[in-house]
């Protein structure tokens, strides 16, 4: 099993290291052809406008959508969450639109408002998850078919819809690989 990490811009190295720390091989994806060898994809944090443009310019948008329709699991963090959303509030920027959620960009404010917090995430067990929010988006609205995995101050920050997983925060920046393992289980289930 190989996991692709979209390496157009952003914190792709950290995701690759986290996947490797779980004992799974990770591949950096910059061109559509690299998608052929992976069974799951991570879209990292970074700048969503930058990632979206590079995705379209090099044909990755269509390639990812095709694989997603065929059932490949995708995990998006921060900018990756924005890429997965159907609607980005107040913006006409590109997104893949795979999840029935509406997101608000930079919802927590500018960098001086960025923060970390011990977030309760029931599906991960009793121990909270140290969540790092950097100029983070939140999920303003989620359709009934979207499972809410965590909230911060009543704002939705972690969701799953079928084979798609998305977080406002950055699990790749802490040493805790529980969310990456959760995603790897999703990929294993999809492969079998």
């Amino acid at each position: 099993m190989k996991i692709g990490v979209l390496a157009l811009q952003g914190a792709f190295r950290e995701h690759r290291l986290m996947i490797e720390s779980c004992g799974t091989e990770a591949v950096e994806v910059r061109k559509p052809a690299s998608l052929d060898q992976v069974q799951g994809l991570i879209i990292p944090g970074g700048e969503s406008t930058t990632i979206g443009k590079l995705m379209c310019d090099f044909g990755l948008d269509q390639a990812i959508l095709q694989r997603a329709e065929a059932g490949m699991p995708i995990f998006g963090t921060c900018a990756g969450l924005i890429m997965l959303a159907k609607t980005v509030r107040g913006s006409n920027q590109f997104s893949l639109g795979l999840m029935d959620i509406e997101v608000e960009r930079n919802a927590f404010g500018r960098q001086v408002d960025s923060f970390e917090f011990d977030l309760p995430v029931p599906v991960l067990g009793y121990k909270p998850f140290r969540a790092v929010f950097i100029r983070a988006p939140w999920i303003e609205k989620a359709a009934p078919n979207v499972g809410i995995l965590a909230q911060y101050n009543e704002k939705i920050v972690f969701v799953r819809q079928g084979n798609f997983l998305a977080s406002s925060f950055h699990p790749e920046l802490t040493g805790d690989n529980r969310i990456h393992r959760y995603f790897l289980n999703m990929v294993k289930e999809a492969v079998n």
Binding site: R30, E47, I134, H170
Partner: protein, 294 residues
């Protein structure tokens, strides 16, 4: 408990900028062009380095009006420059809500002995460095991101290359030293011992490291990426060229696909004229911005 402005959060934003291009802009219109081209952040300035160089005199923090207007124009992070040692300019930039402060040699230094104590701030800082010792001193003071100094406003990449090679060479040297020699190495490069230990053990800086100072073409950006930087600042190189939008877009693509000569060849085609360059040897020592700071 909510923790704002922590080291993880400061360093984290730089991690999100990796593989991206940060562009100098002086107006909201330029900021929009940069964002449209795929910049991962902009640096809000009154003048780009080439014009600062031409104008002479004292270069200071930009007028807050310009910074605010640029912050209103784009959704990507907005950085701004403070003079070396001018902690009040930094306080003002933090109050304005700038996302990153560049304590920059491009501006006229306000203190010839001391840099800003960057640990005092919630907003993260980026600082320039010519070698590993200088990079580690800045990190010791609290910089959450490092960039090469290069020679700003010249469109000449040679100094950025020199600085990156110096840093990487010293990193490799530290990796090969036995532990008992590391204190002496720290003394020789005037760097904090704990950071020297970190570099010796991990083979890299503890923070993100970008290229800056003289990048003018997609090939320059890819060159710096292949030398091992995490991303690129482009100052005068974009808005001093003939076709800024096309060049900006090409430099963004080159920073992502830096290892793919085929793509680099395609995106380097038909960009119009690059900014006029300056040969470094024609600059007198006092004209070299890289000599500012220590």
């Amino acid at each position: 408990m909510v923790e704002k402005g922590s080291w993880t959060v400061k360093k984290g934003l730089a991690e999100m900028l990796k593989g991206g291009v940060i562009m100098d802009v002086t107006t909201p219109e330029q900021a929009k062009i940069a964002e449209e081209a795929g910049a991962c952040a902009v640096m809000a300035l009154e003048r780009v380095p080439a014009d600062i160089r031409a104008a002479g005199g004292v270069a200071r923090m930009a007028d807050p009006t310009i910074i605010k207007r640029i912050m209103d124009a784009v959704t990507i992070p907005v950085m701004a420059k403070a003079r070396i040692g001018h902690f009040v300019e930094a306080q003002i930039l933090e109050a304005l809500g700038a996302d990153y402060i560049d304590e920059s040699e491009v501006l006229t230094p306000a203190d010839d002995l001391y840099h800003i104590n960057k640990h005092d701030f919630k907003v993260p800082f980026v600082c320039g460095a010519k070698n590993l010792g200088e990079a580690l001193r800045r990190i010791g003071e609290g910089a959450a991101m490092i960039r090469t100094k290069g020679e700003p406003g010249t469109g000449n990449v040679v100094e950025a290359v020199r600085h990156m090679r110096a840093v990487m060479g010293e990193v490799r040297r530290l990796q090969n030293l036995p532990k008992e020699e590391l204190m002496t190495a720290a003394k020789e490069m005037a760097a904090p011992y704990d950071l020297v230990l970190y570099v010796a053990e991990h083979g890299k800086l503890p923070v993100v490291n970008f290229a800056a100072g003289g990048i003018a073409t997609p090939a320059d950006a890819a060159l710096m990426m292949q030398l091992g930087v995490d991303g690129v600042f482009v100052g005068s190189g974009i808005f001093k060229s003939k076709d800024p939008a096309a060049r900006a877009k090409a430099i963004v693509a080159a920073t992502t696909h830096y290892n793919d000569p085929q793509i680099l060849a395609e995106i380097s085609t038909d960009l119009g004229e690059a900014m006029p360059g300056i040969e470094i040897s024609t600059l007198s020592p006092t004209e070299r911005m890289q000599e500012r700071g220590w």
